[in-house]
Symmetry: C2
Subunit: 408 residues, 2 copies
């Protein structure tokens, strides 16, 4: 049996389909974020990151970095065990209190990643509720899809953000227990769920709600509680899931909710029970970030301002951006090869790093550059970005918006 | 629909079955490991941890802690994205080189945890091999069971470390592709797989091998490559999986193997692709630990010496330990309530922290205290441990070994 051959063939298939991914090797420079060093065979080069999920640069904030260092020196680099067996650090318990408070919930539970919090969180909740039907948004993240799949419960997919379709499915389900699983900000299109209206439906038809706010926590709401906080509906959502690895700038994931719900997940979720706990140093860094963003709106305000400037600059240049109401700015290419070529040219010629987003992360034909402006992208960087994109679009013969043609 | 009720009932069921877990809140003191502070409602108390999976205390090693701090200050507290989208740090690439070298393999791949490396690693491998039959040891860890389950392939469970049974199943499977999934050191019984003999069978019947060395890496073999290195069979195993969260003292997991195999997992595994990368600071700390333990055998030698002393002390006291050839020393209780009571008494009366191990981590009737002596448990602590156990065993009326009775 030639096993190596199976794996070579599997990778070759990706190459044939132009889906083979090459990872750019990056060394961030915390003192100069979003500047970084790109390590390539020909030598290092200074670049500007425009596709980071460290949306507010909090991973480079002194308070966050120093909390990590101080706690590592105090308590070591790791947790030393699972939460049950010697790994339940003081720091992780304090972090869970911060997170419960952030979302106005009774309790919080931290996982090693946002991915695992969805995967083991959703599957455990759906398994504990007898005869549960899971209703899942069509554009939910892979981690949620895997969670729904592992639950092994009946599931129905409602069309993305489609309230009428969700209502139709809820109504048809009758009196059985139901769990509605959805996101607030969808990361690739940058659009936002009607959380309040979904809660209305959930109440009307007796469903429980599970909301993923990973692309919103830290960035929306007066204290960074996410879109649900901004919309004044945080208290109406049963379980709010979030990440410590994006706007909070560190790593890890969590859920918050009623004490009984959180205690049940804590007690039954295999992906929580059988894994080494988050290091206290990581938990302390994340807690410092959450605390900072509860009190300070400056990063959010500056991010919103720079996002608006990027959108205006791209519009003025006639670049084909997808309109969003969030900090995510997709510029559409619509072809895998062209998308990769645009990304390569930006990096090599302009020192601008925007990873191409191809299938299966987005549907074929909707390949794009996904730009995430943050508070540290100053006006000069915004202007440089727009110039570089225009240059690359011109060199590759990519279409500009019809607005430009209309002006002819 | 009273959802809260479902969750309250689920937790109540655990309480009725005496399986409800309370986590001791611990603050490790890196300068005095295995000493720590136990945070309890009545106030803090100094304790000694005897159940840590930071087996060699490397989480508290200066080189490891300082690598974490230096990299956090240089590159920030987090990675800022997935491996594909801006999170592929220089530090994580270097760590993968260290790990491939540790196991004598062409390539390595780092995951956010050992749990996820098994879960997404095994399921991806088994899915990529057409018509794959998975043969899995009966005592494999939950993360491997979940990986096998998610593969959705045919599976067969062979009796724990039973070569005859494994051969019977391999033979019956005929010429179809097969993946044998097993561990080197089984964490709860502390016994060891016959890796070479399993490789013999895999070669004879054309199976691929996947070996979990999480409780062995850093501790066995001349450079800490694990039991497979110690036994001189590392090159015969196709995929070796390990953790950065136990003897290496930090957090994260990995697989190593042929470049084509690792590239295929990198390209297809959802639990790798769709998750935020390990922070560069964590990767740098782990790499420092791996490097240190490649060059230094002092920690291993001292651990083995202190483990032997603990075993001798428990034997002299007539305490019912399970004989093992590893660093894991299970002291059998055989009852969930008594096991919890013993653990509570040790902690409250003697300041000795050994978490009770109850069902479902071990079968009912085999409840135990699982002791993991390390290089920093000095002879005085070993003597104190034996005295405390004798005191607790006496107070609870737990049986001593028949050896003591035979002496009557």
């Amino acid at each position: 049996m030639d096993y190596q051959r199976f794996f070579e063939d599997a990778v070759d298939e990706l190459r044939r389909e132009r889906r083979y991914r090459t990872f750019a090797e990056i060394e961030r420079d915390a003192a100069r974020f979003p500047h970084a060093v790109w390590h390539r065979p020909e030598g290092a080069r200074d670049i500007v990151i425009w596709c980071s999920n460290d949306y507010l640069g909090m991973g480079c904030h002194d308070d966050v970095v120093e909390a990590m260092c101080a706690t590592a020196r105090q308590a070591g680099a790791g947790a030393g065990g699972t939460r049950n067996i010697s790994g339940n650090s003081h720091a992780v318990v304090e972090l869970e209190r911060e997170l419960a408070d952030l979302h106005g919930k009774e309790a919080g539970l931290v996982f090693t990643s946002g991915y695992i919090s969805n995967q083991t969180g959703i599957s455990t909740l759906a398994r504990l509720i007898p005869d549960c039907l899971v209703l899942s948004d069509a554009l939910n993240h892979n981690s949620m899809i895997e969670g729904v799949r592992q639950a092994g419960r009946d599931k129905q997919i409602f069309r993305h953000n489609d309230l009428a379709h969700l209502e139709e499915l809820l109504k048809a389900a009758g009196g059985r227990p139901k769990l509605v699983v959805f996101e607030s900000v969808y990361s690739m299109d940058g659009d936002v769920a009607p959380i309040g209206a979904i809660c209305d439906l959930a109440e009307r038809y007796g469903a429980m709600t599970y909301l993923d706010e990973v692309h919103a926590v830290g960035m929306y709401g007066a204290r960074g509680g996410g879109i649900a906080e901004r919309d004044g509906v945080m208290h109406r959502v049963d379980v709010i899931e979030g990440t410590l690895g994006k706007a909070f700038g560190v790593v890890g994931g969590y859920i918050t909710g009623r004490a009984s719900v959180i205690d049940a997940v804590r007690s039954y979720a295999p992906g929580f029970i059988f894994t080494t706990a988050l290091p206290p140093a990581v938990a302390a860094a994340a807690a410092a970030s959450v605390r900072h963003l509860k009190a300070s709106g400056a990063e959010r305000a500056r991010q919103h301002a720079q996002v608006a400037k990027v959108k205006r600059a791209l519009e003025a240049a006639g670049l084909p951006q997808l309109a969003t109401s969030t900090h995510i700015v997709p510029v559409m290419v619509g072809d895998a090869t062209a998308c990769k070529a645009a990304s390569d040219l930006l990096l090599e010629e302009h020192g601008i790093y925007i990873q191409p987003i191809n299938y299966p992360t987005v549907p074929r034909g909707t390949e794009r550059l996904r730009i995430t402006p943050g508070p540290f992208h100053d006006d000069a960087l915004v202007a440089q970005l727009a110039r570089a994109l225009v240059d690359v679009w011109s060199r590759l013969g990519l279409p500009f918006e019809s607005r430009a043609e209309a002006a002819e």
